[in-house]
């Protein structure tokens, strides 16, 4: 007996002219067809309760979002905590990060920070102290404070933007770095702009608009 169904074979059928790209966007002169990944900072205000951090980190791993750092800490309200995430994704990817985060029930608000937001990171850098004068000069150059010293080691605290910390580590490396610990980035919006509120550009738009809205790329500081 015959297996399968009757009908024109695939090669006999008409085919549409259009295509979509991997992001499901129609390739059309009017629609941007490709997206490059960019680094951005996302700040989430969450309920300060057990399990929130694992909810957030689990979300990133299971949805394969590229996360560079994640920091969490209390806020002025004892019941709330702020999570600051640095992610590197395409625009549609960043969009998904924001929407998936917002879906978690303990998450109160999610915002991608503007390019001019204040971004800071802290690093503890432990170096060999064989040349104390030169070490002190480098520390001075980066505004680092001495946290601990011993006959063999000196440990400095550096805060600042990521590039500054990278540069400090690079310079300290000439003395021999023993250990480093970095916090990951924390950030706040500038001036009266609220980190937890809607993005300035999104203030009057619905979730639908937000759904397809991308903000511009920014470098740290």
């Amino acid at each position: 007996m015959k297996r399968g169904l009757d009908g024109p074979a695939p090669e006999e059928r008409p085919t549409p002219a259009g295509r979509r790209n991997k992001q499901g966007i129609r390739i059309d002169p009017e629609v941007e067809a490709t997206h490059q990944p960019r680094r951005t900072v996302i700040s989430a205000l969450v309920e300060h309760e057990p399990g929130v951090l694992s909810d957030v980190s689990g979300l990133f791993s299971r949805r394969q979002f590229n996360i560079e750092s994640l920091t969490v800490g209390p806020t002025d309200d004892a019941e709330l905590a702020r999570i600051t995430l640095v992610v590197e994704e395409t625009d549609p990817g960043i969009d998904q990060v924001k929407k998936q985060l917002r879906k978690l029930v303990p998450v109160i608000s999610v915002r991608e920070l503007a390019p001019d937001a204040m971004r800071r990171e802290l690093a503890l850098i432990k170096v060999d102290a064989e040349r104390p004068d030169q070490v002190a000069a480098v520390a001075d150059m980066y505004g680092a404070t001495t946290v601990d010293s011993s006959p063999e080691t000196a440990t400095f605290e550096v805060t600042g933007a990521r590039q500054k910390i990278d540069a400090a580590i690079d310079t300290f490396s000439q003395f021999g770095i023993r250990e480093i610990s970095r916090t990951g980035m924390t950030a706040l919006a500038r001036g009266t702009d609220e980190t937890t509120g809607p993005s300035p550009a999104d203030a009057s738009v619905s979730a639908a608009d937000e759904a397809n809205q991308y903000t511009e790329t920014a470098d740290d500081d």
Partner: protein
Amino acid sequence: MSERAASVTPTEADEQDDDQEQITDSAAPDAAADTGPAETTDSESAPVTTGAEAVIRALENAGVEYAFGVQGGAIMPVYDALYDSEIYHVTMAHEQGAAHAADAYGIVSGEPGICLATSGPGATNLVTGIADADMDSDPMVALTGQVPTEFVGNDAFQETDTTGVTTPVTKDNTFASDSDRVGTDVSEAFALAREGRPGPTLVDLPKDITNGETDAEPDAPTTPDTYQVQERADPEIVAEAAERIENSARPALLLGGGVIKGEASEVCREFAIEHEIPVVTTMPGLGAFPEDHELSMEMAGMHGTGYANMAITHCDTLIAVGTRFDDRLTGGIETFAPDAEVIHVDIDPAEISKNIHADYPLVGDADTAVSQLAEAVDSSPEATKWRAQCQQWKSDYSMAYDAPDDAPVQPEFVVEALDEATSDEAIVTTGVGQHQMWACQYWTFTEPRTWVSSHGLGAMGYGLPSAIGARLAADDDQEVICVDGDGSFLMTLQGLSVAVREELDITVAVLNNEYIGMVRQWQDAFFEGRHAASDYGWMPEFDKLAEAFGAQGFRIDDYDEVADTIEAAVDYDGPSVIDVHIDPEANVYPMVPSGGDNGQFALTEDQL
């Protein structure tokens, strides 16, 4: 290997024990129909005294009628409180079945299904069912026992980090940590399971919390303040979308499971019929639009009809409602509806432009948003040619199959015979595999909430336990038919003991090919016919197995037995099982291979 007597004569089912509880009206009080705040001060109920009583009170306040579960050490206090409740508990044979039954109850009734299990293995056995509900956005509340708080983290007997295990597969979960609060935890879980995009929630209940004294009555089932749902779509985008529809030459409606969950079938039907727009459904969307209507193109996707896939591939405007554009629907993203501007209605903003870019994102409740759209569209699109083209495709790619008398029974014929023997309101449940696809393709669905299946997770074994849940949610005059596969049935057939004990009128038709048929089909197409671990070679005699359980057993080997046997099985008042020996080499077509072009679906194996 085994000798099989071809028998279509039913034998008497075992007598029921007299002392078994039967489902009566008094055991199942009418649910509070409104979804508003429940009464928390029911004068007839005694005040709560323990956390466990607060848990049960929360369920009662929410109007829960049935719960599905399995007893065990850490959940015992909750069961003890349930003992005095009007909620009817169905003791399942396995926790996976409890979760699937609760899931199906949620699909058919629209209200969250409740499942209970103990800690450790009880909770982990629920996980498949919870994950299924999560993928399909089915409302469900899982309550799991947990070891006493002081033992948590010590690897105590039957301890599992249940909230940890279930976080990725629940809409939300909670570890109860306060007897005064535990009732409200359950109320909140119930509300979260139901509101917005539905989904499974879980409350983990340590034994000391449920045993703990409290007089705190649970709050009414409301969602936490942080949970926000947008009901109405942005009117500006609605207006733009409406204009697009009016000017469309090749419009198509794509109805997903969200149409059914959002009670939007009616408004979608009216909209499609008023503007004569051809309708395609996803698999979870089966029943959202009557498949016997001229405008119905039926189901699209991997094993969708050829005409549905042609319509979706060639449309210029795709009005997608309540769908997440799963890969089984879209095939390759690059070739999915490539000429179409997409209007996407979804209650979950995260579904907008997740897989397919939405040119007109309409975040909102399906019923509300489609009503807005219907109001905004002033004139029907001029699409006479397109409709004629769609009708032409319906005849070009007809689903007519070959079924010669001298060949083994074809599965499509059996599905059609089952459909024929039952009412339009009959509920169909399935396992996962070839039989599931034949059920999708050859059953003519006309009503919402009559199709119960494991879509996103694809969990074999779903069919029988979901038939149990569906039976209890269905009206008495709705038949419940489980179209199962031999492999799927074998995974959860212990549920027959439940169906018999509870005297549930369900009919299981096992399309038996002694293969994991879908895998065998793929092996033939893509693995040079090497049937690695897909050929069972031998299966138990399911009709006799059914009788050992106390159900009615039937068997079909030939075409001339099909109609009469199905009639006898459907008429039997209680659980019946038909072991249908189908053509083992039957395959499911059309087929779009994974990641393929929907418009290039194969009608035969050599086209793959």
